[in-house]
Amino acid sequence: MSAPIKQDTGKLKKDTTNNMHTRLINTSILSLFCWIQIVSGQNQDQKIVIGGTVTDRVSGETLPGASIYTKGMPTGTSTDNKGTYRLSLQKGDYTICCTFMGYRTKEITIHALSSQTLDIQLEPGAHELGEVVVSSKARDANVKSAEMGIERMNIGEIKRLPTLMGEVDILKVIQLLPGVQATAEGGSGFSVRGGAPDQNLILLDNTTVYNASHLFGFFSIFNNDVVSGLELYKGDLPLQVGGRLSSLLSVQTKSDIPERFGGSGGIGLIASRLMLEGVAGKKTSWMIGGRRSYADLFFGLSPEKTVKNSTLYFYDLNAKISHQLSNRDKLEWNVYHGQDVFGAEMGKFNYGNTTSSLLWRHRFSGDLLSRFSVNLSDYRYRLGASLDQMDIHWGAGIFDVAVKAEFNHHANNHLNLNYGLSSVLHHLSPGKISMSGYPDYELQNHKVLEHGIYLSNEQKITGKLSLRYGLRWSIFQHSQTYNRLEPRISAVYLLNEQSSLKAHYAHNVQFIQLAENSASGSPLNVWFPASPNIKPQTVDIVSAGYFRNFMDNLYETSVEAYYKDMKNVIDFAEHAELLMNQHLEEEIRTGTGRAYGIELSVKKNAGKLTGFLNYTLSRSERTIPEVNGGRTYLAPYDKTHVVNIVLNYAFSKKITASAAWIFASGAPTTYPTGRFQVGGEYFPIYSGRNEYHKPAYHRLDLSLTYIPNPHSKRWLKGEWNFSVYNAYGRKNPWLITYSQTGASTPTAEMTYLFRFVPSVTYNFKF
């Protein structure tokens, strides 16, 4: 992969500084590997490693967060976001126990004389509905893990929650988590702990997704039939990722090997979907899934020619092929392609993502696992219009090529190393307009390189104190090279088996950002890089929390406090022109920001009644010279109080009901305090940015899942989901506008969406 990178950075290579950095990187990587091998060689003779994947035996979904432990011994671990685990043991005979909420515990006796793979399939248990837990961590992982601010959910939990228009949307589900807020009514955009939406890194199978929404942000690109689970890191980002300040949302598609050909799907009000999976031989499995909306199919019924000739739809295609090369090697190829298409007689507008990744997992030894991947990500939009004799085309996008090498070396309780490196070529195309009869107008493209090298260790200091610490070295090469070190450390101190104290510090850096002023999720994304004039954004995050479980981990509670200090944070000049602007940097304003808050969480994980209550008290501010006269103002994502309550109740195996109540303080806004008149029209005068608040936001969503025959032996199993979004019809403002009719003075109006929106979806699997 080095060849294309060298070619693309030909100009940069002329810079001797960059050559020096390249040598430094190479030297560091070699040193890192040597050191790792020296350190790791010490224990290989005594230890063996048992590892594998835990999956749902029926659906084949991987199960992140399942507990794996040796019976009668204190040794244990939990599965990661891919559902995989590694257990380091002395040679001997063991009974391996695997437990996961909502599944029957499985015990496997092994004679372990050497490292080996042990894949485990769990049977949904008698209390299957117990899978509707809020967080699918291992039973006590929330207390004992050094991780903080991390939320994991599997698709089983997500599917039970109420939906908007019948579309299960994981981006809306994460908005129910503490510290996460929607940026617009009904939208998929989200803010994490006061950060901007472009400060969230969204990965689909470890590949960046630049715009994760359809239909202007009202739906996400993730088809729930192909998704197995998600992880959200609210600041304590794993060191293998960088480049974003606020969060990492990692979405995984199904990666397990099905026992036979099967599939699942659903028919909803606005879209339908289908996923098929199977095996080809003993070593190869495949999965393909698709979804398409079909509101425009009804356009043909319209008597109006304009409507009849219009198109409006979105679709997603996912595919995956896995091949087990040997018991040490596995190849995996993922691809995603999705588009939104809007067409009318005079023109067409479409936008979407294409991502693909090729992953090679290799086990060097029982202790040393590796992942090598090539990841491609492309997002672009195109607008074409024909009017009389004039054709006009407008397009822009971003294209990434990334190579990654990641290693996990588990030597002992003091040395559980993760290390690796990555290199990304970002090709930013901010815009090009072609008009018939005129030369093309194209903004300057940017090719920039972003490298990262990292090393982290998870160490058990004492029986009660564990640390996770590491360092990431990020290098960004554009017209200027930036080197940044990103230290991250977290600690957990066990007070007892049920409670712990945790603390965390991280320094994160962001080199590319989105030029967008709208919170509603415009698809016209323009990403721009750090430069000599635009310094990389940075954040220092400190958080601490108390975690306490009750009644044998049936109830999980926590309180976390955080403080974020942001530097070089981005905002834009007043009336900034962000699209097709050759001088975009002149519209950028940078300054400082801070965000702080407290998050309280109570969860009930099992039983007929499950659910959670999350409360967040927070504040997010920006201070940027040249914006708001240099006075500190509230970030658009500042919402003082946020309460999310989700309850699920299993009436029987046939019927499960869910309710979600969401409350958020009104978002900051700017209302006009004065006006001037020109001719018969009035224009606003403002006294300050975001000094007022919109009315508080709240709504109640309800859903009911009905499984006609839960014990059916037929090949096709179906269930009905009935949902009502905003059940009590709260009028939550989406837009506040001003109307001037005739000679009258202006009056205010609000536009609201989604008041009492019922939906029904039929889901099936076979």
């Binding site: 005079m346 009869g437 030369p439 009336h575």
Partner: protein
């Protein structure tokens, strides 16, 4: 222009696809202290040019803004020509040149307003300066009858050479000698960003409704309609970037929040000094006429 059209299309799509409603909304805000508002233009057309001086008011005040009488108003050119203004007898706050005068391209003009706006017995001075751009030679205009998405419309095309500099244009119209554009929201402005220095060989300038096919449910209230045989006069102003931005900001800001492409609410940029708002601009106007005839490109 493209962004605005796209915003309109996308907003329409969202409203048509998603269940939405609009209703009146009560906003309680503090009131900004009143400031002086100065707005006017000076062109190369010999006329009694006017400047309007008024006071700002609370946004939701039910009364129209009040004109400011008793001000002294004059314009001085970079060639030291002074143009005096006198107060209109019937419209408070309206000041007009005493004689029919015209500005000359290539000169700067400074507007000076002296008024006791804060009523402390002493007049404050407010000034604004604008540079008169060179005149633009228009070769011709053409109006074609087209069918756009099922609606019959008239499209106006311009033929002229665009100068090599960054240029900004303001189009106003007369139909059969009567001005049909009288408010900022109706003004049509254009930048040459995407065709700088090129010959505008049928550049789409504006769209008009067909008076014979008015769709009362879907038409904009400010729409201008044409009929076969109408004589349309285009007045194309060669304006400064500042005035181009002022018009765009006024149009963007007057309706409040905009989905998808909205920018945070911000005060409209002014060139009036001393805390005033509004705008004073100078620009040359080039005029050209044509007669509407039926020529459909989408039979």
């Amino acid at each position: 222009m493209l962004k605005k059209q796209l915003s309109c299309i996308l907003t329409s799509v969202v409203f048509s696809l998603l269940p939405s409603c609009t209703e009146s909304f009560d906003i309680k805000t503090g009131d900004s202290p009143p400031v002086i508002v100065v707005y006017g233009s000076f062109t190369n057309e010999a006329a009694h040019h006017s400047i309007m001086i008024s006071s700002s008011s609370p946004y939701f005040d039910k009364q129209p803004n009040q004109g400011i009488p008793g001000a002294e108003v004059r314009i001085e050119s970079s060639a030291h020509d002074v143009f005096a203004f006198t107060e209109n007898d019937t419209v408070p706050g309206l000041y007009q040149t005493i004689e029919e005068v015209a500005a000359i391209p290539g000169h700067s003009y400074t507007l000076t307003v002296e008024a006791d706006f804060n009523r402390d017995g002493v007049k404050e001075r407010y000034t604004a300066t604008s540079f008169m751009q060179p005149s633009l030679d228009l070769d011709s205009i053409e109006i074609r009858h087209i069918d756009l998405m099922g609606r019959k419309q008239y499209a106006m095309y311009l033929y002229a050479q665009d100068p090599p500099e960054d240029d900004y244009y303001l189009a106003t119209y007369k139909v059969n000698g009567t001005a049909v554009v009288d408010s900022i929201s109706q003004l049509s402005v254009m930048t040459d960003k995407t065709f700088n220095g090129q010959y505008m060989n049928g550049m789409l300038l504006d769209m008009f409704g067909d008076a014979a096919a008015v769709d009362h449910n879907n038409e904009n209230r400010n729409r201008v309609y044409l009929t076969l045989g109408d004589t349309v006069t285009l007045s194309l102003g060669h304006i400064e970037e500042g005035y181009y931005k002022f018009i765009n900001q006024c149009r963007d800001g007057m309706e409040g929040e905009s989905p998808f492409f909205g920018t945070p609410a911000s005060n409209i940029t002014t060139n009036i000094s001393n805390g005033g708002v509004g705008y004073f601009t100078c620009y040359p106007v080039s005029t050209i006429k044509t007669v509407v005839h039926l020529q459909s490109h989408f039979p």
